[in-house]
Symmetry: D2
Subunit: 437 residues, 4 copies
Amino acid sequence: MSEFFPEVPKIVYGGPTSRNPLEFKHYNPDEVIGDKTLKEHLRFSVVYWHTFSNPLSDPFGAGTAVRPWDDGSNSVPNAQRKARAAFEFFEKLGAPFYAFHDRDVAPEGKTLRESHANLDEVVKVFKDEQARTGVKLLWGTANLFSNPRYMHGAATSPNLDAFAYAGAQVKKAMEVTHDLGGGGYTFWGGREGYSTLLNTDMKRELDHLARFLHLAVDYKKQIGFTGTFYIEPKPKEPTKHQYDSDTAACLNFLRTYDLLPHFKLNLESNHATLAGHEMMHELEAAIGAGALGSIDANTGDPLLGWDTDQFPTSIYLTTQCMLCILGMGGFTTGGVNFDAKVRRESFEPIDLFHAHIGGMDAFARGLKVAHAIIADGRLSSFVTERYRSWDSELGRRIESGNATLTELEAYILPKGEANKNASGRQEMLENLINEFI
Amino acid sequence: MSEFFPEVPKIVYGGPTSRNPLEFKHYNPDEVIGDKTLKEHLRFSVVYWHTFSNPLSDPFGAGTAVRPWDDGSNSVPNAQRKARAAFEFFEKLGAPFYAFHDRDVAPEGKTLRESHANLDEVVKVFKDEQARTGVKLLWGTANLFSNPRYMHGAATSPNLDAFAYAGAQVKKAMEVTHDLGGGGYTFWGGREGYSTLLNTDMKRELDHLARFLHLAVDYKKQIGFTGTFYIEPKPKEPTKHQYDSDTAACLNFLRTYDLLPHFKLNLESNHATLAGHEMMHELEAAIGAGALGSIDANTGDPLLGWDTDQFPTSIYLTTQCMLCILGMGGFTTGGVNFDAKVRRESFEPIDLFHAHIGGMDAFARGLKVAHAIIADGRLSSFVTERYRSWDSELGRRIESGNATLTELEAYILPKGEANKNASGRQEMLENLINEFI
Amino acid sequence: MSEFFPEVPKIVYGGPTSRNPLEFKHYNPDEVIGDKTLKEHLRFSVVYWHTFSNPLSDPFGAGTAVRPWDDGSNSVPNAQRKARAAFEFFEKLGAPFYAFHDRDVAPEGKTLRESHANLDEVVKVFKDEQARTGVKLLWGTANLFSNPRYMHGAATSPNLDAFAYAGAQVKKAMEVTHDLGGGGYTFWGGREGYSTLLNTDMKRELDHLARFLHLAVDYKKQIGFTGTFYIEPKPKEPTKHQYDSDTAACLNFLRTYDLLPHFKLNLESNHATLAGHEMMHELEAAIGAGALGSIDANTGDPLLGWDTDQFPTSIYLTTQCMLCILGMGGFTTGGVNFDAKVRRESFEPIDLFHAHIGGMDAFARGLKVAHAIIADGRLSSFVTERYRSWDSELGRRIESGNATLTELEAYILPKGEANKNASGRQEMLENLINEFI
Amino acid sequence: MSEFFPEVPKIVYGGPTSRNPLEFKHYNPDEVIGDKTLKEHLRFSVVYWHTFSNPLSDPFGAGTAVRPWDDGSNSVPNAQRKARAAFEFFEKLGAPFYAFHDRDVAPEGKTLRESHANLDEVVKVFKDEQARTGVKLLWGTANLFSNPRYMHGAATSPNLDAFAYAGAQVKKAMEVTHDLGGGGYTFWGGREGYSTLLNTDMKRELDHLARFLHLAVDYKKQIGFTGTFYIEPKPKEPTKHQYDSDTAACLNFLRTYDLLPHFKLNLESNHATLAGHEMMHELEAAIGAGALGSIDANTGDPLLGWDTDQFPTSIYLTTQCMLCILGMGGFTTGGVNFDAKVRRESFEPIDLFHAHIGGMDAFARGLKVAHAIIADGRLSSFVTERYRSWDSELGRRIESGNATLTELEAYILPKGEANKNASGRQEMLENLINEFI
């Protein structure tokens, strides 16, 4: 099993005092926290596109990635070799899941038929490797944004043919995902938005987007695929504006077009911050609607205005994520999917290990910290206590929809002024979090 | 009528060649554009808070405003004199509408009862002045954010009494608005959000906010108030996060809690940009949902991260606004409400005139430009033509929900590739806009 | 000594396992790290303005602060009582330093003479309290931004009288600082900038600012004040643009006007991020120029566009600060000055303690982590090794200015291509930092 | 001359009422404004990289550009054909200047020697075409950022060989620029910065950057090149931080290393806004230091955080630029260089014409508006009058460095308060600008 990373051992847990950069300091997969092992809680997933298909180019420079298993050709055998390298990586890392787009894993052909055939050839290797290693597919998806045919959108293209082509591509990607036993299928609408409103009929495009998703819902039923459908918000980039801009925009769209029962959200940290929200906000907003499905774990640079997709290393960020995820009872089909890429300057294969080890350790720590905060109970008690006045008779009347403004006036006018507020104690609570970090 | 601005004449239309800063260059109220006069199209409104109650302080400095009619006392007579000054201003400016919060116009008393009484005394002056001048109330509202009682929110406060107090305040403000013949009533939730998620039960707070709005809807019916209810998005400031963060968040909230039939949106340019959107985006998003009601006309500074509430002077911005508003058929109860303030360094009464004249001229030009672009027809023809492929048999099948992915695949597989895209021509369309400016 | 905070004990070190929110978990003042105690390394300072003079208002709401020692009057006795409360706070907290503006501590009079007299009365209390407690003045400064007289700037005002008044105010503030044995004097130009370039002669204003600072340098010499002069960058707020926008802008200004020998920089984290820089960047930029003097310790919210001045609690931030500060050999006259305020919702006196304890603990941890990273040596070895190629003959020739382009061409042309790059290993280094947190 | 754009006529001036998108509405090259023709004032330049070498890819999608003259090969004949297409474009457009990087125009070879040879072959075509058309080279430059060899920087690389290679590349690019009679040579340090400070010795890197520029200064003298050296600020992208982040950072760097006499600044609008500044601010900052050389004309999208490099169409922006440039007396060797690219969706050759025509018309209008504002005189009179108090005896003493703080105190103490401020009249001045638009 050491064909592609011969000098890298299986990554093992060395514990917090280890100084070996190729050991986990905190991710001990079989350690039990609460009612589950770390592995079951975190359900780590490696993304194919950044880890195995990204040349590490940027808008000002060519790719730098050194990937000895990739001969640079656009051939099926090269794609198959890349697939085997990927599974060796998943296995050595101990990642139980992976995720991919159709076009990451197999070369696009001259026709759609040829592309389908190429994909099938690689999927065979995936099936073998899944069987060999036990690694599973967290979710599949179709790339509907890179090819120039999608320059004006896929489901929202003014060009009907782009919509049709995208539909056929999604059909195939769903079939492949189903075939591989994938736990879900994700819709990220990278070009579903606009560059300028001057040439755009936004309402008609949104109607088309909804039709597109309904077609997928119908086909899912038809083929008996029972995985989760995820929709993934991002506010901009590549387009000036992407319709699924944040959790609220996605939920509003899904509600408008009667799609909410069929979709959950896949939330990404860097997309949250690009939309002006903290990841924790987006998570809570989705959880409040019963719609959180999975997360794309990464981090942005708050001083840069694009999707840097960096590996998450801040324990604060991972703690916040895990507080929310434990709070909703953990993942079902979703997981912690590292939609993250090494920097262009970290171009060697070994950097892929450093990056994932760091992200996995950061999430393992976040899980432990979050679990300890919940077990400690002070934080949640503070919050419960803060809303205590609502557990009164009047509070219940209001919450159940039985009060009136007249009644409220009758209550408050004689008092003249409201009861005093209590301090929000933000600083004390921030210190409390630091007690556990 | 020259008690308060003795040196300022009635502002008249001088035409584009006028060099008199106290004349309109473009706003000729009775000029007909399309089927209406400029006055009817634009429905300009002056806001009481910025123009008559803002001392022009900022977080680093004391107020600078010189307002000779204001003796600085917190008395009812002072408030009444301010009211008369305001109407003299509206009249000289030729603004047909105004808008106010309860606490802008009358001093807060030691008890709510006293505050109500103070408000009543000023409202008497408003009624007289409305009758005298013909100026009307665009909408009223209650200030539920300045008093420390609302530090943690009003409808979303963990303190039940703050909710009750806010309810009583809204009840009174609605009554007053109804009494003054107001065309609408606005809900801007300045403190309906959070400073930190650590101490916040977001779901429970949102439930409370929805209950609060339902109480208002019920009371509106009860008293027979037929004006429009507006909800106004803003993403942050004063809070770290405000629940009604943008159009999509408002629509999602309204849909979630069955409030959409009862509310329209009041959109503000500076709030749009703080949320990361162009004003035109927010307008189109609201119009697409049939939910645009009114606009708060101002502009932000894209390089500053707070609500600068500057007067709008960019013809590009006003043209975009008016393209959307003409596109939806114009305002009904809403209008162009200048939620804008003079700079702290523009502290003299005359600056209030310069500022409003500039804003009104900018919107008058925007209206004329937008009307000319629509009359010209090239822009809308381009957009219609761009989606032409959807007017095919297959397009109609998809749009009407009768297609399947299998059918799309059967269409595109034999073709192999989609029909070519056409250029989006963004640069040509931007040049086209410039032809009219 | 318990007149003002009767229920708060002297804050002591309880160690990492303490669950008492009023104990330090990490700041053990007499613990030795390297060659100094924590107290000597960190030189904590409390700011008078936020902690004792800020009512916790914001642009949308009135002050919320409950400060029992403050009767709300603008009187000297009230100011003196506030001063005694402040020193009780400093003492209970164990803060060895404080900092103030002239107008924080004593009421502004009707004339400058009266203001001077008021200040003198409070300074007497400061002298007594300094003697009693041993608390020292880190630096003094003058508030040249709050009074409307400074609306257009102080040193950069188009109004000569504002410049003159500011000069007299600085003269007095320097005398008082000198009299109190202050270690430094800070210039933050809150209004030294512009609201619009349309009315501004930037070049002339910068010339005036330089003249102003030269006047202060001259007067410093004249009175024999030997403390450090600090200049403090901030890019905006309250003005649209502040001339001392970041480290580079300050250094360029100081170099242009021959002021660099007389000034060091006082860098604030939140000002750095508002300018688009990481605090670590600003620190390194100042240290590289030999110009870092002191820091204003706080943090901003990267998703908000104004100076939130929050207490720093991120161990990452404090570690980065202390890596830089230890790297330059520690503070001389400067220190860690908490230019931070409690949230408007944290309005009780006890919140002032929570906030400072959290900040002090965060910096104590940052110091310990940074010291451990330096002692470990892997990080600095990596950096040294990375530049190894420059320690060649050719590297030395270039660095000493003895090479030519012709020589470089002669070296590289025959090689054809450069030697290979090594990976930047950013992810591995981020993991390394996490080993110590 | 119609080999490459056979359907596009020579672009002529049609005047403001023309509805022909392929005519200038405002740019009448021979029209005289003040003392010069529009052509002489504006000195328009087309950039080779965006217009002839950019495939219109983005980080999420492949190139879309349709360029019939480009066979996609990396051959010299293809590059030569592209060169002839470029000159046909310049000529039809009526652009008097162009600009290029070495690697835009000729393919990079396997060795540096081969790259030099390839460049020489294309330069021959440039010489012929310059002679044929009269089009001149505004400035040349070397691409020191795209090749992976420069991943860690060129002049600031930790890899000495990258520095040496860059030196040799600059040497050749300067020779070629000199040979073509170029008016200047530009240094944009796209990779001269860092991705993380953890692996970076910032001080040593800045020293190297300064050495690199000194080498270029020396070589310039040696070969007798008398064109202007430009340095171009940009704060970030591709790197996390670029050393030449804004005007102030460039000036500080140039002053620190005694390079200021040898360099002027080339300022780009989109780079200014990415750095948090208005273009007008950067222009004034450079002009104040006598260091403005040329501009890269484009615009960013204030809601997007990357360099969108859009064509400038806002008359406000172009007016502000031209107010500054006319104010400094116009360009000498510099010009209005369109460092701008068509959108990825505007992929046809004709879009290149639309884009440039729009940008040229926008700048022509900006020039006319700015000239009219200056001729009108009200704006400059207002500014002069605003500083009138400084033209007093005391003002002169301060400005000439002869005052003291004691003297200022003696002046203001007896007065007690400063003379009143005048309103800044920002709104009135913004209206005044609108009078001319």
